[in-house]
């Protein structure tokens, strides 16, 4: 009886572990196998664009901390001042924006090769995974930035650096500029615009 119970717990433990946690030692193998998988999905011309991106998001959603990314993009101070509904709405809109932007980039994708260059532990709670995207003999550096969640042993992505440009920083700068002049609801409205083509007509 006890043995059964113990083995049951053990099985569940293993399951729970593999469902959520991305321990440090698994970051490189996880990213390598999934980047390879994503590459093969991208090359699969039988799938439509939404199908391809859907499959790719399903792979990477578990390691991207969209809530933290949203929070960093508007800054903790602004974040705290929002009701939890607004926080949730903003996070969803921000996540959608990141994903739409990614889908746009799929059109540019031809036959690039992505290789993992190195994994560097910046400090106890930060890991930078450097990847190189090769296109026409040129190398584009993309760095995935992981942080250790409050729960020991688990790592999630909070930012991506492309050619030295931090995605979160670009949003943070823009949101701060917008919020300096407009109320938060206006920002939400602008995030809802399907095509942000009106940038040049933005109110000063």
């Amino acid at each position: 009886m006890l043995q059964k119970l113990l083995s049951g717990i053990w099985v569940m433990l293993v399951c729970a572990h593999s469902l959520l946690a991305l321990p440090e030692s698994d970051i490189t193998p996880f990213m390598r196998s999934n980047i390879d998988l994503a590459t093969s999905i991208l090359r699969n011309t039988h799938l439509s664009k939404p199908e391809r991106s859907g499959k790719i998001f399903a792979i990477f959603d578990s390691v991207f901390d969209y809530t933290l990314m949203a929070k960093l993009s508007i800054g903790a101070k602004q974040w705290e001042s929002l009701s939890s509904e607004k926080q949730h709405e903003f996070t969803k809109l921000f996540e959608m924006r990141l994903k739409n932007s990614y889908m746009e980039k799929l059109d540019l994708y031809t036959d690039e090769k992505i290789v993992i260059k190195n994994l560097e532990k910046i400090k106890d709670t930060r890991i930078h995974l450097t990847t190189h995207l090769m296109k026409n003999g040129e190398v584009y550096e993309i760095i995935y930035k992981f942080y250790k969640t409050a729960n020991a042993g688990e790592w999630m992505i909070y930012d991506v650096d492309i050619l030295g440009v931090s995605i979160i920083q670009t949003y943070r700068t823009q949101f701060a500029e917008i919020l300096a002049k407009e109320p938060f609801d206006q920002l939400l409205a602008r995030l809802k615009e399907p095509e942000p083509a009106d940038t040049k007509k933005a109110p000063q």
């Binding site: 009886m1 059964k4 119970l5 049951g8 717990i9 099985v11 569940m12 433990l13 399951c15 729970a16 572990h17 469902l19 959520l20 946690a21 901390d65 809530t67 933290l68 929070k71 960093l72 800054g75 903790a76 932007s101 746009e104 980039k105 059109d107 540019l108 709670t125 003999g137 942080y147 250790k148 969640t149 409050a150 729960n151 999630m156 909070y158 930012d159 050619l163 030295g164 440009v165 931090s166 979160i168 920083q169 670009t170 949003y171 943070r172 700068t173 823009q174 701060a176 500029e177 917008i178 300096a180 602008r190 995030l191 095509e195 942000p196 083509a197 940038t199 040049k200 933005a202 000063q204």
Partner: protein, 247 residues
């Protein structure tokens, strides 16, 4: 039954415990990001910069892109790529001198190798044989980067007509590179293909149209990511330059 319940309970509590709590962890992540608004940043030309960003954007949307697209329709990509290679080959003095100024001896040597190989076997640089066959790649350096490597700060941000985002340091850099740019020296001489200044300006314009024709999709896709174009481009430009200088 009770056994099942217990195991479920245990695993659920584990799940709960393993759930990330960003509120706690994000506190120090926040410090990695700067507050780079116009107020926090030294941006004395903000008003002008926003205006020029607008002008450049219109120039791109209504003149440069349509021209580049029409040109791309007429000229096959391989030819445009070849022309782009030939132009880059001509800019060899800029890269060579700035690699030397940054004490990057090997890079300067490789640049010379590239110039010799591509100018001859690559037929005036139309084919980048050095990269294709020998995997010797270009080492892009300019005088702005050299100044940055010497420790010169970026200074205020400035958006230049047509050229786009720049800053005080890179403005000096552009002036320095001007003297190393062979296109500067195209002038009316009997042996030259072009006869006057207007035609030499035409060469520069052609270089620009050719280059744009190869990158229209990239730029459009990038622009779609912008919510506020000016701070967006400013941030990208400054971060990218810092990265290039650190390399």
């Amino acid at each position: 039954m009770r056994l099942l319940f217990l195991t479920c309970f245990f695993s659920l509590s584990l799940l709960w415990a393993a759930n990330p709590t960003p509120q706690q962890a994000s506190e120090d992540v926040e410090t990695e990001f700067a507050d780079k608004t116009s107020e926090a940043l030294f941006d004395p030309l903000e008003g002008y910069n926003r205006f020029m960003t607008d002008v450049n954007d219109h120039f791109y949307e209504y003149l440069l892109r349509p021209t580049a697209q029409g040109y791309a329709y007429l000229v096959p990509e391989s030819a445009r790529k070849g022309l782009s290679n030939a132009f880059e080959n001509l800019f060899f003095p800029i890269r060579f001198v700035n690699n030397l100024l940054q004490f990057k001896w090997l890079n300067a040597f490789e640049e010379s190798e590239r110039f010799v190989l591509n100018s001859t076997m690559g037929i005036l640089g139309f084919r980048d044989v050095a990269a294709e066959e020998l995997h010797i790649y270009a080492h892009d350096e300019d005088f702005g980067q050299t100044l940055g490597a010497y420790g010169v700060g970026s200074g205020f941000h400035i958006v230049l007509p047509i050229i786009g985002p720049s800053n005080a340091r890179d403005l000096v850099g552009l002036a320095g590179d001007y003297w190393l740019n062979p296109l500067t020296y195209i002038e009316a001489r009997d042996a030259n293909m072009v006869d006057n200044t207007a035609e030499s300006l035409g060469v520069t314009a052609f270089y620009m149209i050719n280059r744009t024709s190869l990158h229209v999709n990239e730029y459009d896709s990038l622009k779609k990511d912008a919510i506020e174009l000016y701070p967006f481009l400013r941030d990208i430009y400054e971060s990218r330059r810092n990265k290039l200088i650190s390399e």
